[in-house]
């Protein structure tokens, strides 16, 4: 997994060197079919699609990972604290989570993003906003189980503070679970980034997979001319492959998070 992470990081760093053209420069005819000069053809403005895909990977992956990190961090902190601290803090936190979970996520995200105005920061913020409540709920229920364990009681008896408990015991014990939640949320965040961009709420100043899709699907010509095959299909496959990979990673990490599932 570490090797894969290094590979991805290296790929992201090298992308500007690998991309054959400037993704925003007009370098060919409009909607040119794939050729040796443009392996994935060009878009309606005559920009090189392959370069856009390579450069767009960076914005998409960074957005997805940052949003998932934020969601997981907030979700973990709220969930773990809520699980350890009984009383009104727990009640208030879980009521907030319940209410947020009851509202449909996407319309809320769209409303907030449209009101604030599209930017990379807005997108990251709204995805994280939608992500932390379910994570907090799962982490809380696992923390409650942990809190009943002998060693946590012992640590508490020895005078350990709550922050220390969260950091040294809960975080360590729940690392596999948090990793699994992070992986599956990174998948969701990646798809959401593209989705929000598709709905016209993406960052217009930078190239991302979402912005490529949005531009392509905005016009009917993409279907009729066959540009769909070299313009929409590759972006869609990239998003799908990356998201599915992350989702499978999450599923694969689940048994480690919950040893009960390993039996049978």
């Amino acid at each position: 997994m570490i090797a894969a992470a290094i590979l991805v990081a290296l790929g992201i760093a090298l992308v500007p060197v690998l991309a054959p053209y400037d993704p925003t420069a007009v370098v060919g005819a409009s909607l040119a079919a794939p050729s040796s000069a443009h392996l994935h053809g060009t878009n309606d403005a005559g920009q090189d699609v392959l370069s856009q895909l390579l450069v767009g990977a960076r914005a998409s992956l960074v957005t997805g990972l940052v949003a998932a990190t934020l969601a997981t961090a907030v979700g973990f902190l709220v969930g773990a604290t809520s699980g350890l601290v009984n009383g009104w803090v727990d009640v208030v936190a879980m009521r907030c989570v319940d209410v947020l979970l009851a509202l449909p996520g996407l319309p809320l995200m769209i409303l907030v993003a449209a009101l604030v105005g599209p930017s990379r920061g807005t997108i990251i913020a709204v995805i994280a906003l939608a992500g932390w409540p379910p994570i907090a709920r799962i982490v809380r229920s696992q923390t409650l189980i942990l809190a009943r364990g002998d060693y946590l009681q012992a640590a508490r008896g020895l005078g350990a503070g709550r922050l220390y408990l969260v950091r040294r015991h809960v975080l360590v014990a729940l690392t596999p679970l948090v990793a699994a939640l992070f992986a599956s949320w990174a998948a969701t965040a990646l798809v959401l980034e593209a989705g929000l961009a598709f709905l016209g709420l993406g960052d217009l100043s930078s190239v991302s997979w979402g912005s490529v899709l949005q531009r392509a699907l905005d016009q009917d010509a993409v279907y009729v001319t066959g540009a769909w095959l070299w313009w929409v299909l590759p972006v869609g496959m990239l998003i799908t492959a990356t998201a599915t990979g992350l989702a499978y990673l999450g599923v694969a990490l689940e048994p480690r998070a919950n040893p009960r599932w390993q039996r049978g």
């Binding site: 509202l103 996407l106 604030v116 989705g195 709905l199 709420l201 009729v224 998003i239 998201a243 989702a247």
Partner: protein, 316 residues
């Protein structure tokens, strides 16, 4: 209790979001220098009147609540018609799309989930699990666009967009119904695939947890036929969690409807939201948000009540 809190939060959120979010989105509507300035004087006046920004906040909130009680959601900036009229016009289409796809998906997902869970660990189960995890993650707007390209453009089996053929009002009733169904097939199928994936996973997990149960072992010892064990013994209990997630699916359905309707230009609430985002039509966006959230909350409440009847243990 939780639902009344959610409704209060929803109504309050809908009022405060446009007023407290950074960038002063509402003030920008009447600022000639901003990109969202409403050029048309009559429409600008309508928006300013609806939001009432020159009045004190308490008075604004009171006016908003009274308007809400009367069903007044303001006037669409883009179309210059009452938001309420737009919502009533679009709602039936979304109900048709979500209703048809959810019912097909529930049956399909449950049936396949029963089969897969019953054969846990065998290659057919692992194949189905992998397939449905993938279906669950594939971006909907991409699948929808792929289906549009293959089945509408290349094969020409279905119309590319819309909910009905334009100017088909004069057609006979049967012909109109067939036309609407014809437009429904592609978007509904795409949505159904994703719901089926969710339903499949819950149903399968329920079946798997039933596999080692005592009453199943007893039934087997009695020599009951396989089919009876599968459906009457295991699936019956596994059905409970599957029913309780149905309402959760409605939350996903709203998300799915926004994407699928946008791709197919299907005339429902999701498409309305998409169109109003493009023109920064805040009153319409807020109206759609409010209506969709209210529907999801109501469905959640209904599901909880049904669940209590199905499982007496939950009532306690």
């Amino acid at each position: 209790m939780s639902y009344s809190a959610a409704v209060v939060l929803l109504v309050t959120l809908n009022f405060f979001l446009p007023r407290v979010l950074p960038g002063q989105p509402l003030a920008a509507l009447s600022d000639p220098r901003s990109s969202t300035y409403v050029g048309d004087a009559e429409r600008r006046a309508a928006v300013e009147e609806y939001y009432g920004l020159d009045r004190p906040l308490g008075e604004q909130f009171g006016g908003y609540l009274i308007g809400l009680a009367r069903g007044d959601l303001g006037t669409s900036i883009r179309l210059n018609v009452p938001v309420q009229a737009l919502l009533t016009e679009r709602l039936p289409w979304t109900l048709l799309l979500v209703g048809s796809s959810l019912s097909v998906a529930t049956l399909l997902g449950m049936f396949v989930g029963i089969q897969s869970g019953w054969r846990r660990g065998r290659s057919s189960d692992r194949g189905l699990l992998g397939l449905f995890v993938a279906l669950d993650t594939v971006p909907l707007f991409f699948v929808a666009s792929a289906a549009a390209y293959v089945f509408a453009v290349r094969l020409g089996w279905f119309p590319l967009s819309g909910g009905r053929t334009p100017f088909s009002d004069s057609w006979g009733l049967l012909r109109q119904a067939v036309d609407v169904a014809h437009h429904l097939v592609l978007p509904a199928t795409i949505m159904a695939l994703q719901f089926a994936a969710l339903q499949f996973r819950v149903m399968r997990a329920g079946m798997v947890s039933e596999l080692g149960s005592d009453h199943l072992a007893l039934g087997r010892l009695k020599g009951l036929p396989e089919g009876r064990l599968k459906y009457r013994y295991a699936a019956r209990n596994a059905l409970l969690p599957a029913v309780s997630v149905l309402a959760v699916h409605l939350g996903f359905a709203v998300t799915a409807a926004v994407f699928v309707e946008s791709v197919f230009a299907y005339p429902g609430l999701g498409r309305l939201l998409f169109e109003s985002v493009a023109s920064r039509d805040y009153p319409t966006m807020q109206g759609v948000f409010l209506l969709l959230s209210a529907i999801v909350l109501a469905a959640n409440l209904a599901a909880e009540l049904v669940y209590r009847r199905l499982d007496p243990r939950a009532a306690r």
